[in-house]
Point group: C2
Chain length 282, copies 2
């Protein structure tokens, strides 16, 4: 099961997920000035990062919004990037946060669990209810696909709705309960199931509360670094073992900015990953 | 302002939105067998529907999931379709239900309010809070772009979260209140503002409750026809004037199935629109 594999990668390498939220301006000068298409330039940048960090990290996450922003050319780069990660035998998360129902959700499943944009795991938004989760089951029953559903996001305004009080509990706890229920029939060898949850590291106390409610849920954890999440918070959450993968995007993929505009930019990428690893599990 | 224009189109033509949720199997045989790309076939189907219904309807909505499901080729058809609708001077809604924050939401704004996928209005998911709405402001301040945010969706399992009780009210009412607040500084000549709401016709009582709370909100209304929403429910909601646009997808774009596999398939499309118009305002 893919979440078992992710858990294993976290333990073998590190619980780090490299977020490829690639923008043109992140590319070093030598790439920006190359005589190729935008799609090729972005893919080359991603490929160099993937090649130079794969041995250190559990997985990669590709934020599709940055590729959609560049239209068809951008989505060609997205497609090449996710294919490349899978060909290398690494796990790739499509950060797409799609949320729709029935035949539309089925179409999103076809879009992101097969064909040009095929990834191993996608992020989904549960606001529309179980109809927005169940259409992915057909793909997941082969054990090589999984979901991360939003529970408590890392941004400040997550409080607008997620922290509203619902019969004595916060809304995010109701979402956590559903996440637990919807996943409980698919627990793998690792003890985790295939409906994971997105919980931000920026709210460490709430994280512990959610973890207690959902002992079989594996987490995708944004909010580390620039947003304020710290290594010590992870150590507290990971007492008793790894239960998620921590994403870092800009902290890793822009580590070379102001330092290198050449092929050696990946030296700084690698250093950033190693320093994150030290902070998390050092 | 684009919502004023939409309101005007509803009054001049009809409050109908044709949903182009196009799947290959909906295409009549003459198109399926044409010696062109999948992208060309789908675009031709959409174009024929657009050309034969534009004089009868307020706008078109294109559900991006069905195009994403066909990968890069599908998204080329999406791009051509939305461009064609805008070139004809008609309003197009990108049904994308994106929901993300800060720079990621800004990337979605770039993706869907400019470039290959530019549309006039998009649907968004507010679960992450105001950070998932505010990044669209930069485009909206020119008055030619707007949002429809999910409030109460038309599916049965919308109750999983949207109907939870939050301090004496349902969650969807809290979302409706935010929709009202976030839009209140942008009320146009029509009396409606640029942050519209998605509310399903399948819950007519809840609709009236939301409408009362949000008198300046224009609605995108799914759930008509196959899902159970009726013309009489709309008449009740539209007492005092049009306050939204009613979407129909399969009811219109598959009206020819079992009747025509030829160029004349659009005769049935047009008939379906006229019969919907009669049911709504006849």
């Amino acid at each position: 099961m893919i979440i078992d594999k992710l858990y294993e990668e976290c333990n073998k390498k590190s619980p780090i997920c490299v977020g490829l939220d690639t923008k043109i301006e992140y590319l070093p000068k030598f790439l920006r000035e190359e005589d190729t298409s935008v799609s090729e330039k972005i893919f080359t940048f991603n490929k160099m990062i993937i090649d130079n960090t794969s041995d250190l990290v559990a997985c990669f996450k590709v934020q599709i919004a940055f590729y959609e922003a560049l239209g068809i050319e951008g989505l060609k780069a997205y497609s090449k990037t996710v294919k490349y990660i899978r060909e290398k035998g690494k796990i790739v998360i499509g950060d797409i946060k799609r949320g729709d129902i029935s035949s539309t959700a089925k179409a999103y499943a076809d879009a992101h669990f097969s064909g040009d944009f095929e990834v191993d795991i996608i992020t989904v938004n549960p606001y529309m209810g179980v109809d927005s989760i169940s259409p992915y089951e057909d793909y997941m029953k082969n054990d090589d696909k999984a979901l991360f559903m939003l529970i408590h996001t890392s941004n400040k305004s997550s409080k607008d709705f997620q922290e509203l009080e619902v019969s004595g509990e916060k809304l995010y706890m109701k979402v956590a309960e559903k996440c637990k229920t919807w996943g409980e029939n698919s627990i793998g060898e690792s003890g985790f199931n295939r409906i994971g949850g997105v919980v931000g590291l920026t709210f460490p106390e709430e994280f512990l509360e959610i973890k207690k409610e959902c002992p079989n849920t594996f987490f995708l954890i944004p909010g580390y670094g620039a947003q304020g999440g710290k290594g010590k918070d992870i150590k507290e959450i990971f007492k008793g073992g790894v239960c998620g993968v921590i994403n870092s995007s800009r902290g890793i993929i822009t580590a070379h900015k102001g330092k290198s505009e050449d092929e050696d930019f990946v030296k700084y990428t690698r250093e950033a990953v190693i320093s994150m690893k030290d902070d998390l599990i050092g």
